[in-house]
């Protein structure tokens, strides 16, 4: 059909395990910000948007640095090319079932 990759790498946050140490935001500010209490806000809330190849290294570093193992890097199905309706894609259903 096309040359788009069929899977993407995303960071996933376990909000219960997270204790707000904040190392991840230091290592990967491209995808992770901190709220005023020091807890990470991933750029898709509890998960990141797909990690670009050039940022996989820093993403792995962020995962490795987390003292509570709250951050995981996971290969997910690629999102459908429907910008307006991201939540309708099976990838999201699989994601929801995973929680």
């Amino acid at each position: 059909m096309n040359a788009l990759p069929r899977t993407v790498l995303r960071l996933h946050l376990d909000p219960i395990a997270c204790e707000g140490h904040g190392l991840c935001a230091d290592l990967l500010p491209e995808h992770i910000a901190l709220d005023e209490w020091g807890y990470p806000i991933l750029d898709d809330l509890l998960r990141s948007t797909p990690i670009a190849p050039g940022l996989v290294g820093p993403a792995r570093a962020a995962v490795a640095a987390c003292p509570t193992l709250a951050l995981r890097l996971r290969r997910d199905p690629a999102p459908a090319r429907q910008p307006g309706r991201p939540r309708r894609h099976p990838a999201d259903a699989a994601d929801a079932a995973d929680h």
Partner: protein
């Protein structure tokens, strides 16, 4: 339900006396919701008490009310969707709805003109006031 802009949840119907203040009432509800947080996720553990305080500041019509309103709106945008359960999402939805429905009151409170009923105490479950 989602298509109609609603979500699965526990419905509560409160009949407000005519002179009571919707914002003060919402602040009380948020105090309760903050107390009921399971304390598992940071955005809920710290976020709900913070927005409850903002609401109380607004409800009292203190000089700090306009700043509290700005802070509240910003905080609402960072709390929802970041907990393991939907408790913080529901609390945020309640506050957003209150700010919309009581928009006129919000404006008056921010100008230092709180409702007459804003300082009334309301009973909460567990005997808190």
């Amino acid at each position: 339900m989602r298509a109609g802009g609603s979500a699965l949840g526990v419905p509560i119907l409160l009949a407000l006396p005519t002179r009571s203040c919707g914002l003060a009432r919402t602040a009380h509800l948020l105090d309760h919701l903050a107390d009921e947080s399971a304390g598992q996720c940071g955005p809920c553990t710290f976020g709900l008490p913070a927005i409850a305080l903002d609401l109380r500041e607004i409800a009292r019509g203190n000089p700090g009310a306009p700043a509290a309103a700005n802070r509240l709106v910003r905080r609402l945008g960072t709390i929802a969707g970041r907990g393991a359960c939907a408790h913080p999402d529901g609390a945020v939805r309640l506050v957003r709805s209150a700010l919309r429905v009581f928009a006129h009151d919000l404006d008056a409170h921010c100008r230092g003109l709180p409702c007459a009923g804003a300082t009334e105490a309301y009973p909460l479950p567990g005997g808190r006031r």
